[in-house]
Amino acid sequence: MVSVKLQGITKYFDKTRAVDNVSLEIKKGELFFLLGPSGCGKTTVLRMIAGFYTPENGEICFDDKLMNEVPPHKRNTGMVFQNYALWPHMTVKKNVEYGLDIRDVSLEEKEARTNQALEIVRMIDYANRKPAQLSGGQQQRVALARALVIQPDLLLLDEPLSNLDAKLRLEMREEIKRIHEETKITSIYVTHDQKEALSMAERVAVMNTGMIEQTGTPREIYENPANKFVAGFIGETNFIEGKVLETNNHKVILEIRIGKLCSFNKINIQIGGRVACSIRPESIQVLDAINETLPNQFEAVIEEFTYLGDNEQYHLRLGDNSLIKAVAHNPFGQVRQKGSKVWIYIEPQNVILLL
């Protein structure tokens, strides 16, 4: 097991900069996620760690060893490919054994480790099948076993669940999490699915246009996004522009188009500066009448709403004619009409200020 350090990695394809000055530190035994929209460079980063690409600039270190010039077959990483890349001319067992053939382990050990790996992924009963005879989820498990059997220093997963249907994807999330907890191998997981990242990751790096936008725990990036891109990419949000009126130790008061908005989140900005606020739909409460004791209340008209059983989603039109999304959880028994007037309340700690 190793820790991984990337220092100022840059990679060009022809003239386009696919990865731009990326620095990351991944701790021993961590389940680390690279999250971003397609084309953001996350797979390129992963492939540089595996050694399939060489960065033009920067350093890749496993523990303290510089890896830039080490060819892929000497890095001892186990990779799960997006299309699994199971060799069609070999059985499941042969596929899994392959890495051990190269490593010159004894016959007994090879047998034992292959079986163990297949057991971990619950595929021991399919050992003699060819990959073509397996379903997508089963192939996925074999690909995982093949990567695990060599006891890699580092497990690399490239969108491993993107070819599975929704139900299997949920199952495999649990499965991979369980396997990680059992093996405690340092793992880097690439995905564009924010739910996968939020539910599985210990830490996440959010990437966009070849750069890292933010690194942190799932809670940190969701609750304290560093910028508009992260706020907008992770979950749903409303953006409201405002100007700083006053600021003190505890709070910031903003002037927005429909009045004054109070936030308990601090940001390093002068009075008079312009900021964007990110307000999650679920932190907007929809009230039938104004509550005089609370700040941050605004009048709105229901433009559209969707009842979903456990929650109700609103599109509300505000005084300045802009639209805002809100979600009411557990809307049991409350009946509202399209076009009716309501009040919204935004808790000051849920108003996130972004530069």
Partner: protein, 554 residues
Amino acid sequence: MKSRISLFLIYVFFALFLFYPLAYVFTKCFYFEGNFSAVFFQYMFTNPVLRECIINSFILGITVTLITTILTLPLAFVMGRFKFRFRGLLSSLMLVPMIMPPFVGAIGMRQMLARFGSINLLLMKTGILKQPVDWLGGGGFWGVVLMEVLHLYPLMFLNMSTALANIDPSMEEAAKNLGADGKHIFRTITFPLMLPGYFAGAILVFIWAFTDLGTPLIFEYTRLVPVQIFNMVTDIGENPMGYALVILVLLLTVTFFWISKAMLGRESYTMMAKGQVPRTEKELKGIGGILFYIFVFAVICISLLPHISVFLTSISGSWFMSILPSQITAKYYGMVFNHPLTVSSIRNSLSLSAVSMIFDILIGLMIAYLLARTKIKGKEILDAIVMLPLAIPGLILAFGYVASFSGGILDPRNNPFPLLIIAYTIRRIPFVVRTAYAGLQQTSVTFEEASQNLGATPFYTFRRISMPLISANIIAGGILAFSFAMLEVSDSLILAMKEQFYPITKAIYVLVGRIADGPYIASAMGVLGMILLAASLFLSNKFIGKRMGELFRI
């Protein structure tokens, strides 16, 4: 790093055995007593005999190309666009003529088309003819044309069919959608789109017809460029005109090669099915259908005539002034395996072809890997060089070898085996490169990456992952290389000068010239060769399926 070394070795190989001999011929042609001089080149056009040969060869090439075009266009179009019974069978029967070098067929056809041969006798008996017709009129010119057409139309057919199949059906559907009828679509959409593919095929047919040596030799039609070159090999030291003729042919083929390469553009490697909508095919019915069946049937029957005639010759105990042999015997097959000349030639051909096949696979795989999997610079150049042997006639290469390697350790007068192996190898390398490249293209790179990721070196990965995955392609390419080497005509005729070194084709040629039973034994050998080539084409077709046509494109 390693890929650079292998690239270097490949370039050295081609430089030594493809470019050096040709360059040598070039200097011999243009340097006279140490100075640059085009005098030989000019003499070629002023000397009446040589000029006649050049004109004849051009007329031959153009005639053959035109006739194959007229014959093939309707065949390819109907086969590619309509559904009908026995389509698969008919289109494979269409390839049968390829299984025999035309000069072997010529041995049988000489018998059939003679003044009192089967054809004339049959037509006279049925009362269609009163007087025998001189089918081989013009000193055998039409006999050569006939053999070339019958041998080369499948090549044209393959090229046209591929060109047609490569047209995205939505192109035609779009025209239909806008209200164009079938004829209009063919004229304005289909035909223009298939033109580049057609030209590539036409150029190949022209070059092959222009440079075929065996057929005119059998028909004793000597006023052709290849025959002149062949005759000039014997006095290669004294007569510079051989060099000039070779340069003429070389300039011609290389120019045509570049033209068709430019026309086909980058499309030449797209062996994979594109993401296309499936084509809807119309049923072939009514009178048109019946006429088409008759047409196809006639073409196939006529194109099988040489094979039938060779077979009949090989079993005829006596065949004189009768439609079919009056006596049947198997003794010539027995003689094939007893006659010292035939036995040694079979042994020679088998070992030469086997060795050249192994070289082809080794070098071909290396090149295919470099082209498909590495980022070396100058891939276009490598690709063009590797495909060049498809256009360079064996005649030219062999002449260059005799000219440039005489007197050295590779002198074919002492032992032609090394040069024969090299000639066979170079000439058939495109087949292996193409099939292997296609296999690599269709195999996801991630299979190889997964292997490297688990710790396998690139070589180990190639051995255990890439090779098994493309084994079908390698086998197909290898079989083709082997069987075409077995039946290689012009380089065998030129390079093998002593009887003990004769390969099969040279033995056949020499046997035909012997009076008594020579032609019969030659025919028996021809039949055996036919069976070999048929079996190998069938096998490789099994391995690579519909993509056969791509192999014969520049």
